[in-house]
Amino acid sequence: MSDRRRGLRDGIPIGLGYLSVSFAFGIQAVSLGLSPLQAVLISMTNLTSAGQLAGIGLMAGGASLVEMALAQITINMRYALMSLSLTQRLGADMTGLRRAFFAFGNTDEIFAVASGQKGELNHHYLYALMLAPYLGWSLGTLLGSLAGTLLPVFFRDVLGIAIYGMFLAIILPPARSRKSVAAVVLMAACLSLAFRYLPFLRNLSGGYAMIISAVVSAAAAALMFPVGEEDE
């Protein structure tokens, strides 16, 4: 099988998963006052679940552009590590321009599938791998944002929890098997709760509360439980 066909095939399950998650994003975006076209534009230019969800929350809350930028940097910082990790795996055909193009599609799931491949990664495989996830993400957002304006409140409430369920599925399995990850999750949850409910602390806006909660708990864990090269 050619690299291109292999990439296309490997991308399909990711695309299907994205379809349902971005459907929930579309619903959420419309409920926060964005139009379907605006929701789809966000998905087509960002291609990231957590960053987009936080982004529309900040938009609705009238956050400053600086707060938006800082929130995106914090939430999406993990992509820098994934991109770094992939630089070690790219074939000689991956020139600067091709790297710049593929960078757009380096999501958690695409990274996970790409880094699971044997041998060097070429642009035929990587470009093909991006295709189904990109279409799934954009189409799901369109359908979700249209449905969000038509669906009864009951179904919007039910689907509103989907994206958070997905986050739990990412966080909890490693938290169960690694004490260090469990510590990170616990610390971040406590800080986030404190910023939401405690007097004084709750005056801070949501974007900064999330940034501080995440950065402090990840830094504390990095000091307490340094990760060895073999752990990654």
Binding site: S20, A24, G33, L34, Q38, L41, I42, T45, N46, T48, A50, L53, M59, L65, M68, A69, Q72, I73, I75, N76, M77, R78, Y79, S83, L84, T87, R99, A100, A103, N106, R156, D157, V158, G160, I161, A162, Y164, G165, M166, L168, A169, I170, I171, L172, A175, V184, V185, A188, A189, S192, R196, M210, S213, A214, V215, S217, A218, A221, V227, E232
Partner: protein, 112 residues
């Protein structure tokens, strides 16, 4: 949302997100050795996703402080999703279980 307010947000979101992905991929060709920085980058996704989920998940089903049935649905969804995730089920299964639990609990509203 008015486009004049939306477009600057969109530009910042998309630009920052793209640069985070593209700069390391195009510029860095060596491996990071600093142990603290590597560990920090390893933990940050879990910290971010937790801070985004807790407590926002409790408000994801329409709870605004009065509608306690919505709160019960969200709490039920959180428990169901937590249970399934801890058992190692995939993203889609966990997300759909959370939705199912919310649907079950919120449909009580049709009977009372």
């Amino acid at each position: 949302m008015p486009w004049s307010r939306f477009l600057p947000y969109l530009a910042v979101m998309a630009g920052v997100t793209y640069l985070i992905r593209a700069l390391p991929l195009t510029l860095v060709r060596r491996r990071i050795r600093n142990s603290f920085f590597r560990s920090f980058l390893y933990y940050i996704p879990y910290a971010v996703l937790t801070a985004m989920t807790i407590p926002d998940i409790l408000y994801s089903t329409g709870f605004t402080g009065e509608n306690w049935l919505a709160f019960a649905g969200a709490a039920g969804g959180l428990c169901a999703a937590g249970f399934m995730a801890l058992r190692g089920h995939g993203l889609l299964t966990v997300a759909l279980t959370a939705c199912g639990a919310v649907a079950l609990i919120q449909s009580v509203a049709f009977f009372i």
